[in-house]
Symmetry: C2
Subunit: 228 residues, 2 copies
């Protein structure tokens, strides 16, 4: 299994449009962060774990549909599936086809599911007022957008080798995301061999911030590739 | 007034993901086309004329809101405004703020309107089953996404100096867009001094296609800048 971090930034991306801060103008490529998403290759198949705003590019699955000549399967909890159906209603509504519509088979998940012989474990986590999903595939778990991990989800993470975990910024506390300090605390509680912090703002300089972290917590960066 | 073409491609962009055709692998930068949009600078203010799928990046106005400390004004006809309110319902709904919401002041237009002392003339055109809007600002008019221009709209275009007009591909005819030939015919009917074709697919090689066009019809390309 190969995990590639396609983006490790918060929803604005880094550099932030128009910003001249030290991180946004940095020469260190690890300070350039596309919006958070990850690609997982397993059994010769690809999973993309992706959230808004990147999901707003859903129209872009069309070239893949054209080439594969089949639908793409998508998995989401019920509220997320509902939001996708609302925002991309033209996929399901009987409107003119125009340049083609994304061919999407949308599955609502409420527990472990199997796709292409791969078991995927949804991980309910707190994101402000909402409960949203991270995902675990075997040794790897991915939780972006969280400021709280319930005990029942910590249980689902037992024995995980590598965890990717939301660590928005050093401070102040945020109503929907972990700070770096809160993420480190959660990482030690979960106890993965290695935790990579993700969903990072321009308030994080890669080298300076990583030097403050314990050895089993690192910062992810765009293009980071992990093999299992 | 300065008009800059930010993108001149159809909704997939060019190159198309995964495509190895001659245009998608061309070295000619005019064969690289972001999705169709145009920036107009007038009286020191900027207008962006933009459609889905690019509008799906509406979340990205947040950094502009942060810097300007004010809302961005958006103008659309009633069905488009409704679609924006549906797809981006979180802007108007009382949900958690999280990383911030786009600050947008959405105006429904049904005729000429004035913004920052600039008169903007909506141009109703046919786009398959729908009537959508192009826009004219003084000497420049912009019509993407069309396969028919009603006489009443041709009237609104009287005396226009430069027209940007949908010219999807050479053939076959498309249910919602002009082919190159149809666009040339419409251009001659409108009679602008110069017409630039836009919303181009990877079936158009810039040099080869432009050599077939009459002198008063050219292909637009990303970065093309016109001054009035």
């Amino acid at each position: 299994m190969i995990v590639t971090f396609l983006g490790t930034g918060t929803s604005t991306g880094v550099p932030v449009v128009g910003c001249r801060c030290g991180v946004c103008t940095s020469d260190d490529p690890r300070n350039s962060r596309l919006r958070q998403s990850v690609k997982i290759e397993a059994n010769g198949k690809f999973f993309l774990i992706d959230t808004t705003p990147d999901l707003m590019g859903l129209d872009d699955i069309r070239p893949f549909n054209f080439r594969q000549r089949e639908s793409i399967h998508a998995f989401a909890n019920a509220p997320t599936a509902k939001a996708i159906r609302r925002a991309f209603s033209y996929i399901w509504n009987d409107t003119q086809i125009g340049g083609g519509k994304p061919q999407l088979e949308l599955h609502e998940v409420d527990g472990t599911f199997r796709h292409h012989d791969i078991d995927v474990v949804p991980l309910p986590v707190i994101h402000g007022d909402w409960t949203i999903l991270g995902y675990r595939i075997g040794p790897f778990a991915y939780i972006t957008d969280t400021n709280g991990i319930p005990d029942s989800t910590a249980e689902l993470l037992r024995g995980v080798d590598t965890l990717a975990l939301d660590g928005l910024r050093p401070s102040p506390p945020h109503p929907t995301h972990f700070t770096i300090g809160e993420a480190v605390e959660a990482a030690q509680r979960i106890g993965a061999r290695m935790t990579y912090l993700i969903h990072l703002t321009h308030e994080i300089d890669h080298v300076a911030c990583e030097s403050t972290l314990p050895e089993n917590v690192r910062l992810a960066y765009d293009g980071l590739r992990l093999e299992f």
